[in-house]
Symmetry: C2
Subunit: 335 residues, 2 copies
Amino acid sequence: VTVSDLTERELVARIRERLAPPPAWMLVGIGDDAAVVEPARNRQEVLTVDAIVEGIHFDRRFTPPDAIGHRALAVNLSDLAAMGAEPRLALLSLALPGTLPCDDFDRIVDGLTALAKRHRIHVAGGNLTKSPGPLMLDVTAIGTVKPRGALTRGGARVRDELYVTGTIGAAAAGLQHLREVEEPASERMALCVQRYLYPEPRVRTGLLVGRSRSASACMDLSDGLADAVRQVAETSGVGVHIDADTLPIEPGARDWFAARGADPCVSSMTGGDDYELLLTVPPRRRRSFLAAARVAGVAITRIGVCTAERELQLRGAAVDSSSGAAFPQGFSHFR
Amino acid sequence: VTVSDLTERELVARIRERLAPPPAWMLVGIGDDAAVVEPARNRQEVLTVDAIVEGIHFDRRFTPPDAIGHRALAVNLSDLAAMGAEPRLALLSLALPGTLPCDDFDRIVDGLTALAKRHRIHVAGGNLTKSPGPLMLDVTAIGTVKPRGALTRGGARVRDELYVTGTIGAAAAGLQHLREVEEPASERMALCVQRYLYPEPRVRTGLLVGRSRSASACMDLSDGLADAVRQVAETSGVGVHIDADTLPIEPGARDWFAARGADPCVSSMTGGDDYELLLTVPPRRRRSFLAAARVAGVAITRIGVCTAERELQLRGAAVDSSSGAAFPQGFSHFR
């Protein structure tokens, strides 16, 4: 049984039965021309949209359906996290190949709705269409922040310290393992595979750090740490000095890259899909920042500092002299 | 030169230069992890998402790029219109085949931004990705209504009158002409082709009728009049009696369908893409409804009435006895 055997209405019904009950502020939910909601009081709204496309962002041959649904929402929650926003509602737009098995459809929706419930984000509506080619999931996510509480990319100042949450490189190594290796992964690599398949957006960290007003800028690592550093530096008008020896590279990823003759530093900085947060913190706010991170229960690592000299530098014993001169390029879907 | 020759940043810059200046309530626009906006005061929010997919909703062989961009936003504005909402902001998510010429990209964006400016809807952000297959445009549109001012599908009551704006059948006939005929269209058919390529969402009508509080239900005709009648009737729990002789069939469409041996009534009711509005109006509010429609400058036609007997009937001299018994089915992308 494929999605072509069902009507749009039947597919929508399968989504609805997997959702948490709608909150009181959702006045009109799924099923009309549009949704109607009561805005949150005394809040600003944070809006983002992100698509994941089969063949570009995921490969159905080694990505379980629930991981696809998980990812479609996770990438958007990560954008909300990077703004310090509290998730509120989502709209789903799905383009489905007619050959997609109904079981896979259900499991995709399961992966998405399970993550939605954990982060208390409510699906207010969406759109279903057939795709003549790849499976595509487009999610719009909306969150809220207190007035002037949003974390942007442009607030970093000279002498602000750079921090990153969690570890880096895990998703890139996990993806390579899924692509290249048939055998089951070692325990260390299984962790990387898991991090690739089920990224955990740092919603709580973004929210608590945002409320503490201790960070001057924030961005998620969806396109890798190198890209995030570059974007924050350019938008803020500062340079950045990264100490490569401090980078929190996931142990399994370090082994994986080293075994393939790749520089673990560069590979971990340029690999995408980590969905950690890069944060900049003025030295005088360090204490309140560390306290917020502690409450969020997230590991954070200081990896560098913002400089007046507007260039990006990667230094340290871990950097071999050949690649040390050039700051790694980020990942880009175009060109 | 194709989009593959440009970076994502360069493509985003080409979109930005085509947008109206951001309004004061847009606190963070394109370029960060997410947009930040100040909500409209004392308003409820209306949210919708709709995708158009190459090969399903449009064909690049006979659809000019600006018409593709126009359509991507128009279908969403039509959903806002059907709720009686005032357009406010949009998010764009585009999946682009690498072979898409940059000129086509620019013209797609031109078509979208020209319509956005006319309806004062501001693009707050979006997403660009490569597509390994079809061109896809996914637009999220957000509008506002006064508290309890949204028009839904479920408010029609027995004896309410049914009205439709403009004319029906034009887009379906225009699409068939584009598909089947090489020669330029006659003047009448050119109008149908234009209606297919550049649908005009009934934003002003929805807004004025919504504010007049004279309509009990409303829905747009994106999947055809027959589908809209069925949905409003089912959601409202009423039957509907349509007088086929009153249907405002576009003259060029009537000729086109009749010349091909098709029933103009049935073809016009089941053809999609018209983006007119179906409205139900309690008899006691007829006067204020007609006044609102007059101010909106839209032609409206009374086409039937809601009945206690919960079935859909199409009657009149225009209906031949063979098809008269069954109410036409709407258009569906699945099954």
